[in-house]
């Protein structure tokens, strides 16, 4: 095992990435839920997906963010949750690149109505989520710190 992969498999780094990603997705979901109809409009406004798919994506995104955000925080199915967060980050990246190409300057929907990010910052954030997700997918520590499994039993969770 190289030094880098040993470092990336560090249990504390893993805890930090899991926690940050999880809390970020939960926050993002909680801010979207109260204005979910408006969020459908925002997704349709990107003109990337046909209307029915844009509606399905916008309606399901806060649920996916909330559930998999909670899973990441509690280290439940970390690898699967990280794959989901990677897919979400890729979709955000596509939306933000589209937004930049048509001249938008802000990502008003990234965190619902909590804050408005400049599109460039949103893209940087998406890139960081992608990197963090890849680390969570490919570099697993021997044991997850502060995980649900450590609370309920000593056996490892499904990976």
């Amino acid at each position: 095992m190289s030094k880098l992969s040993k470092w990336l498999s560090n249990a504390y780094l893993f805890l930090l990435l899991r926690g940050l990603l999880g809390i970020m997705f939960i926050t993002s979901a909680v801010t979207k839920f109260p204005h979910h109809e408006a969020f459908v409009g925002v997704v349709k406004g990107y003109d990337i997906l046909p209307d029915f798919l844009a509606t399905a994506y916008a309606d399901s995104l806060p649920w996916v963010e909330l559930i998999f955000g909670a899973y990441l925080v509690l280290a439940i199915m970390v690898r699967i949750s990280a794959i989901v967060s990677l897919l979400m980050a890729i979709s955000f990246m596509v939306a933000n690149v589209t937004a930049i190409s048509r001249g938008d300057e802000h990502c008003g929907s990234c965190f619902g109505e909590l804050t408005i990010l400049p599109v460039e910052q949103a893209i940087i954030m998406d890139s960081l989520i992608i990197i963090a997700s890849l680390i969570l997918i490919f570099f697993q520590p021997q044991k997850h710190l502060f995980s649900l499994e450590s609370l309920v039993n000593k056996k490892p969770a499904l990976e």
Binding site: A38, G41, G45, I67, A70, E105, I116, L151, K155
Partner: protein, 209 residues
């Protein structure tokens, strides 16, 4: 090598419990969807206004000209104003969210000082500028002096007015661009003319207008 390991019954129950809690939380938030509302202007003109003061329906638009949805909504509102000339009041508010949209708002303020706000507004809605050069060119096309527009932008003469409008919007609880019909947010992005007409008709019914 990735491994599949079995869950224990306790762990499975705990995961189900976490999932159910997340779903219940989501369900609660989903069904308590908040509406963005502002205090209805009741026709009081705090920005630039069109339409009669006593119109039963007032549309407040908080606009950033670099936001294409704002611009598209602006086009729809212009059509609605033609359909309801006596029953609709439109109030424009600056809500620039970038340095460039701040320049656009300042150009509009300058046009306002020359009594040509709506002339320039219509042009900006039809062809949103993407550079200072375009702001000046469009302003000149509607009859404003290119030198004076450039000077106004360079000197930031109207920056105070734009910032005051923004602060007033924030004081109203507006923290993002948006369109409000009788104080209630019009949640279409941008929606169609039919959607807007439907929303206006609903308000007309409510107010008996």
């Amino acid at each position: 090598m990735w491994k599949i390991k079995m869950w224990t019954k306790q762990y499975l129950i705990s995961v189900a419990f976490v999932t159910i809690i997340a779903v219940i939380t989501g369900y609660f938030l989903w069904n308590n969807a908040g509406e963005r509302k502002i205090e209805p202007g009741n026709g009081n003109c705090s920005g630039y206004c069109l339409g009669p003061e006593d119109a039963p329906v007032t549309i407040d638009a908080y606009v950033d000209f670099t936001c294409h949805i704002c611009v598209e909504k602006g086009l729809l509102i212009a059509q609605a104003l033609e359909m309801y000339p006596e029953r609709l009041r439109f109030i424009y508010h600056h809500y620039p969210e970038s340095d460039f949209s701040n320049e656009v708002a300042q150009a509009l303020e300058y046009a306002g000082s020359q009594g040509m706000f709506w002339d320039l507004y219509e042009e900006f809605i039809a062809n949103p500028p993407t550079s200072i050069g375009e702001i000046v060119a469009i302003s000149t096309a509607v009859g404003l002096s290119s030198n004076e527009v450039s000077d106004a932008l360079e000197s930031n003469e109207f920056l105070h007015s734009v910032e005051a409008a923004r602060q007033e919007a924030v004081a109203q609880g507006v923290y993002f661009v948006g369109v409000f019909i009788n104080g209630k947010e019009y949640e279409k992005y941008p929606g169609t003319l039919e959607d807007l007409v439907q929303a206006i008709e609903l308000e007309l019914k409510k107010t008996g207008g």
